[in-house]
Symmetry: C2
Subunit: 233 residues, 2 copies
DNA sequence: ATTACTACTCACCGAGTAA
DNA sequence: TTTACTCGGTGAGTAGTAA
């Protein structure tokens, strides 16, 4: 995912890197004694010394040991890590909507009309164009059970979606559909669809994917399924 | 200085907070199992559980334990911490100049003409106005000894400074002076001054302060003094 | 399923100290 | 003065397990 996940040791190192940046080691070579650094990071001189050694090994700083102290300069690699955290934080702080929303539901068998709608050419062409896949003719129906999931489903509907336009053929009119790209059970790419006038109420969810999810994920009625719906930035 | 200094334990907690924000817990209540969080932070389920308990105690998240997992929402206090880190990083990343520069030198006795210049009314009025203090009539002279300090001194001269304008009185012309507010020996506020045409070369530094530094800091010739020159943002 | 307690291990921290 | 080694104690992380 990103370096912050690696392990607890790196978090601590990264914190020291940040402190060095605060002292200006990002834009010039600074002189720091391990004693002084120790004070700034609230640790012992020995620990500060160890951190500097580890930071150098990790490649985040250059270190030049002098009789009067260490000359420290953060490397490009170290600055890149700081920049990465900065831009991640920017995304988090400025985001109007959460990056994704995770729902859980239980498989149930619907009326089978999903296949009919999904295969209408007016829809299908837009799925291919806007979602990037040709959906398997049929939808996976999930029943939402907890209060949290139902609340989240209705929140999701308020977030910006991929809009599949309605159309009219010889016989009738088809309404517009809202889609959210989704990851099903952490593995399969697909989409959550909200038909504007669905037969199901707020406690159900329809999912489409390129393949037959029931066989691809070995699902049977009653199985629990996790769906991570991705929200457009 | 700021909360990031408090201790290593808070840093680890803070990174978990960041991870939760990444999952959207900053803008809505999310459901996370301790198992899932454990995976994201590369730790055990037990550790993830402990972190959530500590985060709640610290007041950075609200937690609602359900049979299916925990409902987590970052509190205003938690978001404020994330914002603080974000803006600190922004300053670091966008700064053209380091926030400050630390120099070390050894006290020596000069020609005593510092007192004459500092007390010229044309300078003195500007010191009071632009530095915020009435300088003691005299300068503390420091001899820079290491290569690092001399290099840093000349770097400092390239950074934006407080400009004391030159002037002319009945008898002669006085040149302009560059100043940097400074902290002497981590305690006393004063300023570093660079007279445009100084008698001293690049290996000396002149410091002024409201009081007589030699007595205030119990300094004698040969004592080492640390000066942190602050650079304007 | 979950969360989170207890018990144990081990890695990290810092005192002492060398260079 | 510095940095950074060894080493012993301690607190953090995890396995087992209860609820």
């Amino acid at each position: 995912m990103n370096f912050l996940s690696v392990d607890a040791r790196l978090w601590k190192l990264f914190f020291v890197l940040y402190k060095l940046a605060e002292m200006g080691a990002g834009s010039r070579t600074i002189k720091v004694s391990t004693e002084y650094l120790a004070e700034r990071i609230m640790a012992s001189q020995q620990t500060a010394s160890r951190y500097l050694i580890q930071l150098e090994k990790t490649g985040w700083i250059n270190r030049d040991i002098r009789p009067e102290g260490c000359l420290i300069r953060i490397t490009d690699s170290g600055m890149a890590k700081l920049k990465k955290l900065h831009s991640s934080l920017r995304l988090i702080m400025e985001a109007e909507y959460p990056p994704s929303v995770t729902l859980e539901g239980v498989v149930f068998t619907g009326l089978g009309e999903g296949a009919y709608y999904v295969t209408r050419d007016g829809y299908r062409r837009q799925f291919i164009e806007k979602l990037g896949f040709d959906p398997y003719p049929g939808t996976l129906n999930l029943k939402l059970t907890t209060e949290y999931d139902m609340k989240t489903r209705s929140e999701l509907e308020t977030y910006p979606s991929i809009e599949i336009e309605g159309f009219t053929d010889e016989t009738r009119t088809f309404g517009s559909v809202k889609c959210y790209p989704a990851i099903i059970n952490n593995k399969v790419k697909g989409a959550v669809i909200f038909a504007m006038r669905s037969h199901y109420n707020a406690s159900a969810l329809e999912v489409i994917a390129p393949n037959f999810l029931r066989s691809q994920l070995k699902l049977k009625d009653g199985n629990k399924v996790k769906v991570e719906a991705l929200i457009l930035p």
